[in-house]
Amino acid sequence: MPGHRTKGFCASAAALALCAMLAGCGGSGESAGGGKTVLRYTWWGNPDRAERTEKAIALFEQRHPNIRVQTSFSGYDAYKQKLATQAAGGDAPDVMQLDYRQIDQYASGGVLLDLGRQQRVLRTAGIDPGLLATGRVRGAQYAVPQGRGTETVVYDVQAWRSSGVPLPGRGWTWDQWADAMRALARKTGKPGGTDPGQSEDAFEVWLRGQGKALYTKDRGLGFTAADLTRWWTFTDRLRREGAVSPAEQTTQLDGSVENTPLGRGKAASDANWDAPASGYGALVKSGVALAPMPSGADGTPGQYFKPSMFLGIGAHTGHPGQAAQLIDFLVNDPDAAKILGATRGIPVNETIRKETGPRLTGFDKTVAGFQASLEGSLKDPPQAPPSGDNALQTTFQRDYDQVSYERMSPRKAAANYVTEAKAELRS
């Protein structure tokens, strides 16, 4: 019967189209293994890190002929968004690089596997307990730190020296830092450094120097609007005096060293993380050196050793054992460490750190030396920031924009920030 045939044809055509679409959506990754276990490993970074990572992965595959690792990487912001969407769709990669600020959200959202169950393969004994604890959420180890970083004042050695201002040294306070910024501005005619008012990281160091913290143990806000008002009044005054960068320059900060005032030749120093600071080498021809972050008035250090990156396993992975093997290899294997160097910060495994330390060259060596000089003098890192912090970092910067462009008083902007932060942490 012709009618039936048409209907049948219709249905099968529709089914065919649907199948094609579903196949198009779901067929990625799993199919190309050739009988091997295929692990997806994603991370953020730059081409240099990519090259070293690929080499390390090749070695891993050579040692485990039954495992094939598919890697993909992108810049941090793009990575963060892509991973969030993948995780939401239940399609998180088997092994993923994570930031301190993502761990709480991912762990409580059920995206990460409890690594405690993989102890047989994944050794953590070589990692400093304080650092290891930063990957723990509600008692369970969801991520393993891969590298160690800390904040630093990077400075143009020649500019600083020729200005006659005493070089920054251990134990200097925020007041001494401010005086140095003013003196540099007077002598060089340029701001002494980046306005730190926009940086939640710098604020945290300042806060910790007074024995306070960004967040309380129970994930609330660890400071008051009055604290933030004092910080922003302090930085805003320096900006008005021309001691730190003007708003037009500060607003161009986007996480890359190229867009910092120091990188653009418009200031003599910058507060930054030590790992990316290597980028200044190419930008500041006369050379840069690292100084510790200023401490509180009574000498309390605010900076801390922060796990620079973590590795975690997707909760829905089909191969938890192999994924754990890969993490163990990346964190604990001496040969992998040789290849990776300090591309993700100074290695966390104590043995490897001691072994690779003398072999480091160039800026990796500078960073290692800087970290060694701080060893034993810093306080423990805070616990992983609560979920809402991811958005608050941007809010912090935006609210300070209102201050530096003189559209809002420090007090008003601080009140705004605290209101939003409380709402963000509640939700």
Partner: protein, 312 residues
Amino acid sequence: MTTTGIPAPTARRSSATARRRPKHERQGAAWVFLSPWVLGATVLTLLPMAVSLYLSFTDYDLFNPPHWVGLRNYAQMFTEDPRYWRSVLTTLTYVVIAVPLQLALALAVALALKGMKRGKAFYRSAFYAPSLLGASMSVALVWRAVFNDGGTVDHLLGTGGWVNEPGWSLLAVALLTVWQFGAPVVIFLAGLQQIPAELYEAAAVDGVGKWRQFVSVTVPMLSPVLFFNLVLQTIQAFQVFTPAFAISAGKGGPADSTLVYTLYLYDRGFVASHMGYASAMAWVLLIVIGAVTAVLFRTSRTWVFYASEGER
């Protein structure tokens, strides 16, 4: 099927099916050919829209299952979120700057091209090229470099970097859109060529000057095309995203001066993981664009002139 029964009824029935069958078959064929579209529209548009409407009443954060919160997102948006209103104001300012500027420029270029005797094709493609390129991220980044401090505009005009000045940054965003005026130019050009030459000849015989010709002949005859461009560009302007995103490096700065509606929506959804809130924002935008378009259509009755009206 054909062997049983009395010949007469069979003949009657078969003639009846013969009349009906082609229509039936045509319908079947139509559905077969339509199925990719129907499937696409359902799976890729209608379903996501329904889900987004549902999510706008929840606190979905990408990681945890959504909870129904009723109108809370909408209430929060209208009463507790100063940044939301700033983004609304920024977008309205942007629409008011960009749309008239773009249409005026497009019309001027179209008029110039119409009168051109030689090289018309070359200039037409030259003016259209930015529309093809402009939507790309790389051009937006070049734009940012041009308007940055130390950039070309800074050197030529000594104005400092526009993109770092809250008072100028939105104009830099608008100029990037205005620069992509190729599509309205092409449509204007087509409209201009539809205007009968006799009208101009008659006007010239009456001793009417160029400007008066433009006001009394060109504008009324072109008004349907003008209206079409106005509606299209307004709808697009409300949804501006790429230039603002690129010029402010995704932050809507400096000091929230380029925080247009869609950029804030993106920020809430993908940076702050408040998908429910972002969905609610998207629905408000849809309703507002619908309302604005309706108002434009309503006012069009008073100023849009259709040549066929005279014949009716």
